[in-house]
């Protein structure tokens, strides 16, 4: 899958599972940071990330290893898309 396709799927998850406004999701770009506390981010906290992980696992058919520190992958849409693409390919 290419990053743009993955981004669209992630936006759909953000609307359906994390209750984001569709208009707000439309404005999100690859560079947009995810975690709260970073300027310009969409403000996700730890609970959002758990919900997001589960939805990603389900939608993309991958498994995330909880024992690893995945913080770096969740920094922005770009890092997350790359992570998902890599995992999906390996799966």
């Amino acid at each position: 899958m290419d990053p743009k396709e993955i981004l669209d799927e992630l936006k759909a998850i953000l609307v359906a599972r994390l209750k984001f406004d569709p208009c707000r999701a439309g404005d999100m770009a690859l560079e947009t940071p995810l975690p709260k506390g970073i300027e310009g981010s969409i403000g996700l906290d730890s609970l959002d990330f758990i919900e997001l992980s589960i939805a990603i696992e389900e939608r993309f058919g991958i498994v995330m290893d909880e024992s690893q520190d995945l913080t770096a992958h969740f920094r922005s849409f770009e890092t997350l898309c790359r992570f998902i693409a890599r995992k999906a390919e390996a799966a």
Partner: protein, 349 residues
């Protein structure tokens, strides 16, 4: 023992949303019933992330708490406690959560929804939103949870355990819940939805910071009257009323008004009348019921206490609530009239 004063009120209900001025206007206006909170009521009171992350019943609570603190002129870092009463909690989220599993198995479960399945979710969200870091409690009771929360909060302030407390409650109308209750043969009464909090402080603390005090809780007590679970009792002797009046140093014929919890549940309403008659006779102070205007919900206790305080500075009032099963609350409230205040409860109910 500290004296317990009322320095703020915030309500979000079908018929009135706002602080003391709006409550005063509502009491003068008459009319109703308005049982559901309109969508527009929350505008400007919850931010974008809260709108996304908080369930509706949590948003109602946060909104009312913010209004109450603004009315009290209290900012964050105030050494603030929270006592929240609720009858039903977040039924909507609980149902959505289990439906996710029933529809799609374990993968259908939403971690975001899970915390809402525990009834303290409204208090947790509110404590975070307004930074309340002293004791934070959720009390669950049928009918009287809001009044009970205020009584418990008043006791905490009186004994010096906390300097300032948001006290009140919240309930939401959920169509599925209403259907369940009807099916289960629950009593027919006027149910509404909404959130309401009063801000209670020690009088010394309130005066020291120049707060606009508009009332005082001079007596607060809660007990149980003998009754089958969810039943109406025959016993009308009341320890709660006696204890509250005693603490306030008030005799029945000193009371200017009784704010009753009558809700259209015939047997329970009659039980309330029997209790009041036995405890107050031969005095028969006039009564006012708020349920016909906003419906029964756990935000009503704060509205009743504020109404009692705003009503008449000359004579103390009794805020009274009795639940099926017997949980019984009595609060004696004095107004501390601000310049230009007038009686607000002139019309009969």
């Amino acid at each position: 023992m500290a004296r317990v004063v009322v320095t703020g009120v915030g309500v979000v209900t079908g018929a009135v949303t706002g602080g003391r001025e709006r409550v005063r206007a509502f009491l003068l206006s008459g009319g109703g019933p308005a049982l559901s909170v309109p969508g527009s009521a929350l505008q400007g009171l919850v931010d974008e992330t809260e709108t996304r992350r908080l369930s509706r019943v949590c948003q109602l609570s946060v909104a009312a708490a913010r209004i109450a603190l603004a009315d009290a002129g209290l900012g964050p870092g105030a050494g603030l406690g929270l006592v929240l009463g609720a009858e039903f909690g977040d039924v909507r989220s609980t149902r959505e959560f289990v439906d996710g599993y029933l529809g799609r198995g374990p993968a259908g479960l939403s971690p975001l929804l899970f915390p809402n399945t525990v009834m303290n979710t409204m208090a947790a969200a509110t404590a975070i939103a307004v930074t309340a870091r002293e004791l934070s409690l959720t009390l669950n009771a049928p009918t009287v949870a809001g009044e009970l929360a205020i009584a418990r909060a008043a006791a905490a302030v009186r004994s010096g355990r906390v300097a300032a407390v948001l006290a009140g409650g919240v309930d939401e109308i959920d169509p599925f819940l209403a259907e369940l209750l009807a099916e289960a043969g629950a009593v027919r009464e006027t149910r509404g939805e909404g959130a309401g909090f009063v801000v209670l402080e020690s009088r010394d603390g309130a005066e020291a910071r120049g707060a606009r005090v508009f009332g005082e809780i001079t007596g607060a007590a809660w007990r149980a009257l003998r009754a089958r679970p969810y039943g109406v009792g025959h016993d009308s002797g009341s320890r709660a009323l006696a204890a509250a009046l005693h603490e306030a140093g008030v005799a029945p014929n000193d009371l200017g008004r009784v704010w009753i919890s009558a809700s259209g549940d015939g047997p329970r309403d009659r039980w309330e009348q029997a209790i009041l008659e036995k405890a107050l006779q031969p005095a028969r102070p006039p009564q006012t019921a708020l349920v016909p205007r906003v419906g029964r919900h756990s935000g009503l206790g704060a509205l009743a206490v504020a109404a009692a305080a705003l009503d008449d500075a000359a004579r103390p009032a009794l805020v009274h609530a009795i639940a099926r099963g017997g949980t019984h609350v009595a609060l004696v409230v004095r107004g501390q009239g601000e310049p230009g205040s007038q009686r607000v409860s002139g019309h009969p109910q």
